[in-house]
């Protein structure tokens, strides 16, 4: 079944170096043993990146590995393996794919798995989960993994942000949310100290946090270059270029990567180089993880003259100054504030527009700033976290903003079994026609 689909040809040179990053991350988990380092199963956007980096813990990202399996169209064997022990197909397929892989690796004695995509992941020494945001699998998945890796200790921390309520001021609440998140991060440090036998070097942590802040800023500066006409890079590439921010936060490599990307985009803008020729329609990818096995669909959009100068997905950061973070000398408290504000800094805006939602405000702002003519959502059936509530976002957008064309594609992140290319292309065709008539109407 491992019929390898040709990955999407990336538009930028810098994005072409991403496979190296991903391979490097996987290889690091396999090499860690030799280097005397500990490997931790980790989950993105849990706020624990810098802690791991500061303690030389090598993160092993199931979300990345499962994405690789999906992109190589080689996930089915692991999904089936998990299913053979009664994990339902409706559960997060990042999780079930990775658990299936864990099961296979355990059967082989815990070492390397010969036919695993890109060598697979190394056996972890610990699992660092996180409860509440962003999703249930972030704490149920570690627990479920322990069923197969019984000796591996599990930590589950907790990172919360205040829920949006149009009638309630969230600023009051932020304080106790941050306090809680800080304490939970401290628990994480304690757990890591216990299982690595090392003490946290707090100065080093502070430096790494500072580096991440700069990476956040640089990332946004780089991505905002995409406002140019024609846009020098679209979401098809962004699904690759998100890797350093998402999986390598707190490393110099990540920072350098965006520096390089920044330079390249500037160059392309100077040359007037775009993604589609000519660029006829600008779309926003307004929510949803992509179907990793069908990234080629972005090219299909491009072939119709449609580009995505902006996406919400994997834009997991913001310019630090826009977050107005309170001063603190505690790097953990800083992470906590940064994390909470990342979510809540849209709230005041959303409250000002009756009936709106923070997620919708964000989409509106991007539509305006990146001059978009249409909105695409992807609804992946196995992940409720990002994909339940999309209908409501779309409805709200239409209600509080304007009747802009919206396409909701349905699929999955890893499970290819319900994907149909012809069908998807048909839908895209019809949507582009709708965008076309919208543009005519707006002029």
């Amino acid at each position: 079944m491992a019929e390898e689909k040709k990955g999407r040809a990336v538009a930028t040179k810098t994005a072409a170096s991403i496979p190296k990053f991903v391979r490097g991350n996987l290889a690091a988990t396999l090499k860690a043993k030799e280097e005397g380092k500990k490997v931790a199963y980790a989950y993105i956007a849990d706020g624990q990146d810098e802690i791991m980096r500061a303690m030389d813990i090598v993160p092993a990202w199931g979300e990345s590995f499962a994405g690789v399996c999906a992109a190589k169209r080689d996930a089915e064997k692991y999904l089936q393996k998990a299913e053979s022990d009664n994990f339902s197909r409706s559960l997060c397929t990042y999780a079930t794919c990775t658990i299936g892989f864990d099961m296979v690796r355990e059967e082989l004695g815990g070492g390397a798995v010969p036919d695993a995509p890109w060598g697979g992941m190394g056996r972890p020494d610990m699992i660092l989960g996180s409860a509440q945001l962003l999703c249930d699998p972030r704490f149920k998945w570690p627990q479920a993994t322990q069923h197969y890796l019984r000796d591996v200790p599990v930590f589950v921390g907790s990172m919360y942000y205040p829920p949006f309520d149009p009638k309630m001021d969230h600023h009051e609440q932020e304080k106790f949310y941050v306090k809680y998140a800080t304490e939970e991060l401290r628990e994480c440090v304690k757990f890591c100290e216990k299982h690595t036998g090392k003490k946290m070097d707090w100065d080093r942590l502070a430096q790494i946090v500072e580096l991440s802040d700069r990476t956040w800023d640089l990332f946004i500066d780089t991505y905002e270059l995409r406002k140019a006409f024609p846009t020098p890079m679209d979401t098809g590439d962004a699904m690759n270029t998100m890797v350093p921010l998402t999986f390598n936060l707190g490393t110099q490599e990540a920072y350098d990567f965006y520096k390089q990307l920044y330079d390249e985009l500037q160059q392309k803008i100077a040359n007037g180089e775009g993604v589609a020729d000519p660029e006829k329609y600008r779309l926003i990818w307004a929510a949803g993880l992509p179907s990793w096995f069908a990234l080629g669909d972005f090219q299909y959009f491009n072939s119709k003259g449609a580009v995505f100068p902006v996406e919400v997905t994997y834009r997991g950061c913001e310019k630090i100054e826009r977050l107005e973070l309170p001063k603190t000398n505690d790097p953990l408290e800083h992470i906590a504030w940064r994390w909470v504000r990342y979510w809540t800094h849209w709230y005041d805006k959303a409250r000002k527009r009756p009936g709106s939602l923070p997620k919708v405000e964000r989409i509106i702002e991007y539509i305006e700033e990146y001059k978009c003519d249409g909105v695409v959502f992807h609804s992946a059936f196995s992940c409720r976290s990002w994909h339940a509530g999309i209908i409501h976002q779309a409805e709200t957008l239409k209600k509080v903003y304007r009747e802009i064309p919206i396409l909701i594609l349905e699929g999955d992140i890893v499970d290819i079994s319900s994907y149909n290319e012809a069908d998807t292309h048909n839908r895209i065709d019809a949507f582009i026609e709708a965008v076309d008539s919208y543009k005519k109407r707006m002029n």
């Binding site: 053979s84 009664n86 994907y419 149909n420 290319e421």
Partner: protein, 280 residues
């Protein structure tokens, strides 16, 4: 004196009756009509004729299958899962995993010493069932009987991307007009069903020997495709359609004998073989 027992399997597509004395005395297979009860009578009558017996000669009758509650003359109802396991075990005692592909559902059953230890059933979707193949055969104009043979001559099974039976039907006819060969399409159809069935039964930790029963086992192309997907050889009982009915009959015998051993008489159904009335 020999005691005779009957098993009646009212499937979604086929109705099967087996009469069992010392060995199989009769087996009849007929299509399931909407009026289960009437049909059960008819098939039973035929079976009695074949066995040269009268209804009164039957000591105990078990009904199974999807329409099992619609057999008024049966003395007991037992699910097809138990009956398939029982029937199969009597025919192929080494089998530990049974795949049953019927008209409306597919199942995987694990057995140990002739008893069910675990099982899985498919969802309420026609994909991955015998019905899928029937519909495809119909729209390709290939007799169901020929599907298996035809697919064995395929050089490269066609890829059928729709799971939905309705969508797949169109996909198949399109591919046919697009020049895809009939054998490749039929093989593709079998692969599609085999993939679904395999992922269903893989939920049970498959242990050899593996056997296939139900109407799907009549289709050699499907069996081959399934072997490929499961990665192991699959045994086929001599008449796979009757496995459930046979299991029911054997179970009837066992129950009857258990009672008589304890000096008791099992309770029997009061309804004779008269035709049931529907629209009064």
């Amino acid at each position: 004196m020999i005691n005779y027992f009957a098993g009646v399997d009212i499937g979604s597509t086929m109705t099967k009756v087996v009469i069992y004395g010392e060995g199989i005395r009769a087996m009849i297979i007929g299509p399931t009509g909407p009026e289960h009860r009437k049909l059960a009578n008819k098939v039973m009558e035929e079976a009695l004729i074949q066995a040269h017996l009268k209804f009164e000669d039957l000591s105990y009758i078990i009904a199974t299958g999807y329409g099992r509650i619609n057999v008024p003359f049966a003395d007991r109802q037992v699910t097809e899962i138990t009956c398939h396991a029982k029937g199969l075990h009597s025919l192929l005692p080494t089998v530990k995993t049974v795949v049953d592909i019927g008209g409306q559902d597919s199942k995987g059953i694990k057995i140990k010493d002739g008893r069910v230890v675990s099982f899985v059933m498919n969802d309420k979707c026609a994909a991955g069932t015998g019905r899928f193949i029937e519909i495809m055969a119909d729209s390709l104009g290939v007799p169901l009987n020929d599907m298996g043979r035809l697919s064995l001559t395929a050089d490269k099974p066609a890829m059928i991307s729709s799971t939905c039976t309705v969508f797949a039907e169109h996909e198949v006819t399109n591919q046919l007009s697009g020049g895809e060969t009939l054998p490749n399409l039929v093989a593709g159809i079998h692969e599609s069903v085999a993939t679904r069935v395999a992922s269903l039964v893989k939920k049970l930790n498959i242990e050899p020997d593996v056997a296939i029963t139900g109407g799907g086992a009549k289709n050699i192309g499907l069996v081959k495709a399934l072997e490929k997907k499961l990665g192991c050889p699959v045994l086929i009982p001599p008449e796979p359609l009757i496995t459930g009915a046979l299991g029911a009959a054997i179970l009837a015998k066992e129950i009857f004998e258990k009672y008589t051993k304890e000096g008791q008489v099992p309770e029997r159904s009061k309804s004779g073989l008269q035709e049931a009335k529907f629209f009064d």
